[in-house]
């Protein structure tokens, strides 16, 4: 037995002797790292490259330092970057310190790479540069060199600045967003508080028409503008929910034909409002709402014969409402996007493990932080980094997987995917100001409103959403009509994707019915039944064109119609704690 053991040991030493005796061929290894050899496919070369980097790190040769620095700086998403960072510590050359300090302080890097850089710096005798995330709010400084700070308990070493709202915005370089500020690095933790069930934000601009024309044949100038913008934000927490929004629309026109006749018109609408809900039991809540709107309508018409007509009207609404209800409808779109991401990785055999709610929240945090980016670059980089760090994404994504990921991230079919049931009753007190319009009633108006929504997401591709709304005027003075209306509608929508996850568009089918009364002796009960069907093409995250048809039975008359409409949006983002 002893003889056999000595024989085996001798054989092992003999086998290892050439390798130990022969120094690494550093130039050949460097060449293999830097250039894909002819006749070697890319996956094979990537493996060979990693192996070459390991050998360079173990070579002890100073000539390996420069190529490893290059790898450490450039390879943020392949394990070869980590091999290089670790190898620079092993090589013991102080010329690697600046590069390692930069990596250690770069919050856009994987946490594992930053940790490795700090370890290598320690091995080189340098003090690692670290930045900390304060528990709440405060500002953070990054020491120029050599400063030491602590890593927070959550492990998230991330550079942050603090905005007025308290949202963390990393101070690293990045793609400028719509507002010209820098975009954040991948968050290491869920940015949303534990009790946040869902959150959404949207900013949309639409130009219905904009034209300016002049022709010498008729000596006629014509100008039209119809533009609007709207911002909304909503947050659902465990015990509360609130949202606010506002918008404006401007319609303007000029017609100046030959002669004295001319027409000028301008309409400016501004509105804003908010809602707060307090949940007092399982699904039971009390609510308060407020809204204000103001409107200016200006019209000047000068004809060839008649005197000039000038009509300026101002109007304003101020309203508050209180009420109660049951249930909650949340925008689960962002969580569905995570599920779609998982499905794409699974179909590409790149899914290492399922994505749980905690990781989904972290992904959504990254998406939320990059919501103002003009491009999807940061979003994709953050997503890949998080998925790799969590072991969900097995290895570096290939071109096909990267494309699928990008398509899911940009897919607008996961915006505004509401889910749940909600019903409420509101008592509304409004004050309407119509001082320039003596024929129109103004002053106080009291209403009872009933609203209900039932929304169900049928997997990733389909949804069914229904609404019921009713209103009734109450406390009207004697002789003043008390109109009422009740209406319901439902829409089924199916999203269509191409073979690699690209959203092509959506089919929608809807139906609506409404009944109403003016409470006047000279009017009948109003009844309308209608149906719609349409196809929506999708061009980017918030921009669509829809072609649709409509059939409507109203007051006994039958109507068919077709229309094409479009919109362009800049921003749409959401968060949902759990999947429907």
């Amino acid at each position: 037995m002893r003889r056999a053991t000595w024989t085996l040991a001798a054989a092992l030493v003999a086998a290892a002797a050439p390798a130990l005796a022969q120094p690494a061929d550093v130039p050949a290894l460097v060449q293999l790292v830097e250039k894909q050899p002819a006749g070697v496919d890319r996956p094979t070369w990537k493996e060979q490259r990693r192996d070459a980097a390991r050998k360079l790190a173990a070579s002890g040769d100073k000539r390996a330092v420069a190529p490893l620095i290059k790898l450490a700086e450039a390879e943020a998403f392949d394990v070869i970057g980590e091999i290089a960072i670790e190898g620079l510590g092993a090589l013991g050359d102080a010329s690697a310190i600046p590069a390692l300090e930069k990596i250690a302080a770069d919050a856009s890097r994987d946490r594992s790479q930053r940790e490795l850089a700090r370890k290598s710096l320690t091995r080189l005798g340098a003090k690692p540069t670290t930045v900390t995330t304060p528990p709440t709010g405060g500002t953070t400084t990054t020491p120029p060199t050599g400063g030491t700070t602590t890593t927070p308990p959550t492990g998230g070493a991330i550079a942050v600045d603090t905005s007025a709202t308290g949202d963390a915005v990393p101070a690293t370089d990045g793609v400028p967003d719509l507002l010209g500020t820098r975009t954040p690095a991948p968050p290491t933790t869920d940015r949303f508080a534990d009790d946040v069930v869902a959150q959404s934000e949207s900013l949309t601009f639409a130009v219905g028409a904009a034209s300016l024309g002049y022709d010498t044949v008729r000596d006629r100038t014509a100008f039209n503008l119809d533009a609007s913008g709207r911002y909304t934000r909503w947050i659902d927490r465990g015990k509360t929910a609130w949202g606010a929004g506002g918008g404006a629309r401007v319609v303007a026109g000029l017609l100046d034909p030959e002669g004295v006749a001319t027409s000028r018109a301008a309409i400016v609408d501004v509105d804003g409002g908010g809602e707060f809900r307090a949940y007092v039991g399982p699904g039971v809540y009390g609510l308060g709402r407020a809204a204000v709107s103001a409107r200016l309508q200006y019209l000047v018409v000068r004809t060839d014969d008649d005197p000039t007509v000038k009509d300026t009207r101002t109007a304003a609404d101020l309203g508050v409402a209180i009420g109660g209800g049951w249930g909650r409808v949340i925008d689960a779109g962002a969580r569905l996007r995570v599920r779609a991401l998982e499905a794409q990785l699974e179909s590409g055999r790149a899914l290492g493990r399922a994505i749980d709610d905690g990781l989904a929240a972290r992904l959504q945090s990254a998406w939320w932080d990059t919501r103002r980016d003009r491009t999807g670059y940061r979003q994709l980089v953050a997503t890949v980094a998080i998925l790799r760090e969590a072991g969900v994404l097995l290895g570096e994504p290939d071109a096909g997987t990267t494309f699928a990921l990008l398509e899911v991230l940009r897919d607008p079919s996961y915006d505004h995917r509401v889910h749940g049931i909600d019903a409420n009753l509101q008592l509304v007190e409004e004050y309407l100001i119509r001082e320039d319009e003596p024929m129109i009633a103004d002053g106080r108006t009291e209403l009872v409103l009933v609203n209900a929504t039932a929304a169900r997401q049928l997997g990733l591709e389909q949804e069914l959403v229904g609404h019921l709304a009713a209103r009734y005027r109450i406390l009207a003075d004697d002789g003043v009509p008390a109109p009422w209306r009740v209406g319901a509608d439902a829409t089924w929508r199916k999203f269509v994707h191409a073979g690699h996850g690209e959203l092509v568009g959506a089919i929608d089918v809807g139906a609506a019915i409404a009944a109403s009364s003016d409470d006047r002796d000279d009017t009948d009960l109003g009844l309308a039944v209608g149906g719609t069907a349409g196809w929506t093409w999708t061009f980017n995250r918030a921009s669509t064109v829809r072609a649709g048809g409509e059939v409507r039975l109203d007051a006994g008359e039958l109507f068919f119609g077709a229309s094409i409409s479009g919109r362009y949006g800049f921003l749409d983002v959401g968060f949902a704690r759990s999947a429907p």
Partner: protein, 121 residues
């Protein structure tokens, strides 16, 4: 109101064939009340604008007389306008509140809403 075929009557109930000549009640979500009643702008198209007039109770769907201001007359008016004038009138109606669109005497109007005055020579 005109009596309609049987299938329409079945859908709409007795109101479609009640034999009265009254106009129809306003059926828009915001036909009464202000900002909190939930009144979105209408589609900026001739049909969208004319339906807003109906839903606000400004015009009936189908007037008693041939030349009454009703949905069909609204469509004819908008489609007969120069394109740039029609665009602005349509946008004006689509953004107006119901009370602004209700001419004195609605829903038996004797005057068009102010939006129609734009570009009227």
């Amino acid at each position: 109101m005109r009596c309609t075929p049987l299938f329409v009557a079945l859908l709409l109930g007795s109101a479609a064939c009640d034999g009265t000549e009254d106009a129809d009640g306003a059926r828009g979500a915001c036909a009464s009340g202000g900002a909190l009643a939930g009144c979105d702008d209408s589609p900026t198209s001739p049909a969208g604008a004319c339906w807003r007039l109906v839903e606000c109770g400004s015009y009936p769907v189908d007037g008693d007389e041939e030349n009454d201001l009703d949905w069909g007359r609204c469509m004819n008016d908008l489609e007969g306008m120069a394109a740039d004038r029609a665009t602005l009138v349509t946008a004006c109606i689509a953004t107006s509140t119901c009370d602004e669109l209700q001419a004195p005497g609605s829903p038996h109007p004797y005057a068009r809403p102010a939006c129609f005055a734009f570009g009227d020579r």
